[in-house]
């Protein structure tokens, strides 16, 4: 019996370790946190940001495994949604950058100076797609 329990604990720990390490590795590759510290000039606080990510991930684990209910105002969701969106947007931007899409595209169509317009196309496309999905698309 104890062996079984120990085995389950071990397997749980191992899978948690793999998922956690994968998440952090993914964040590192996309360079979201360095980018944020660079923008806000808070390089010294980087360790606190690390802990922010760790506690955020743990809160997410608790929320998805234990189903708590807080019963507070729905307007708390507005900042949560906004920050969540910014995070996903930065992930998407980091991915686009890692794949080197823009430099090649801009060079092909002689648009070196005006990549901003291309970025804006993707930004508006993302906002539009997301809003469209939540308001109309989910019905079908």
């Amino acid at each position: 019996m104890t062996i079984k329990i120990l085995a389950v604990i071990f397997v749980g720990l191992a899978s948690g370790l793999a998922v956690g390490a994968g998440f952090v590795a993914f964040l590192t590759v996309l360079g979201v946190i360095p980018r944020l510290t660079q923008l806000s000039k808070t390089m010294k606080m980087i360790h606190h940001y690390e802990w922010g990510v760790v506690f955020g991930a743990l809160t997410g684990v608790c929320a998805s495994l234990r189903d708590p209910e807080l019963g507070i105002s729905a307007f708390v969701l507005v900042p949560l949604g906004l920050t969540g969106g910014v995070f996903v947007g930065m992930l998407a931007a980091g991915l686009t950058e890692a794949l080197n899409v823009f430099p090649i595209l801009a060079k092909r169509i002689n648009l070196d100076g005006k990549i901003v317009i291309l970025i804006m196309a993707m930004v508006f496309g993302k906002i539009f797609g997301s809003i469209f999905q939540w308001i109309f698309f989910v019905h079908h």
């Binding site: 998805s64 969701l77 998407a92 080197n100 430099p103 801009a106 496309g125 797609g129 698309f137 989910v138």
Partner: protein, 231 residues
Amino acid sequence: MEFFIKNNLLPILTTHEIFVLEVNVLETTIYIRMRNRVQSPPNGIILLKDAAQIIAPETILPDLKLLQIHQLSEEDGNIVVIDIMNVIGRITKQFGDLEVQTIGPAQTIIEVVAKKKGVSIPFFLLIWFLLFFGSAMTLMNFHDDVSMKSVQEKIYTIITGKHDAKPLLFQIPYSIGLGLGMILFFNHVFKKRINDEPSPLEVEMFNYQMDLDNYVILHENKESMKRVHDD
């Protein structure tokens, strides 16, 4: 003289000649630094002052500046690489014994620019729409793939204790935040910047250009590679 060298018989006479040569060589030194990229109209003539920065004694500087390095022709195509060895060769041919000190890059890339081409508007609009619709669809696929909808409903229930099939109060800020995050990452609020640092995209563009240049330097420059069958 040749007879003596061929037969390994060095005459005593040469020691005197070598002494004279050494005095001449050290007379004038010029410094040359090749530019990285130079643009030129088709069929233009590339002068030394176009392709390089020069420091030289006043007496020869004007002539040196106007030294012709390369005449562009139709066969040259878009890009020509001028190797520094070539340049030194021409300088020594024209000016005799100068000591040429080279600093910096070992070659210049000449970019032949025909007429400055404008961006064609329909083509541009097509690409803009392509990116717009492509991103919209990619994002919807992503949301579906990671079951974003059920997660958002769950978050709504956690916070409020009620169930809502369309928690728009969470979803609309999320959607706007998505765009904001991308702008933040690329450091552009339309044309205004948040701070002075180059955006990752500009760095990426620069790296891409450097890679292209490196490729061109090796592949367009006939002197930089020697194959087995080349004569």
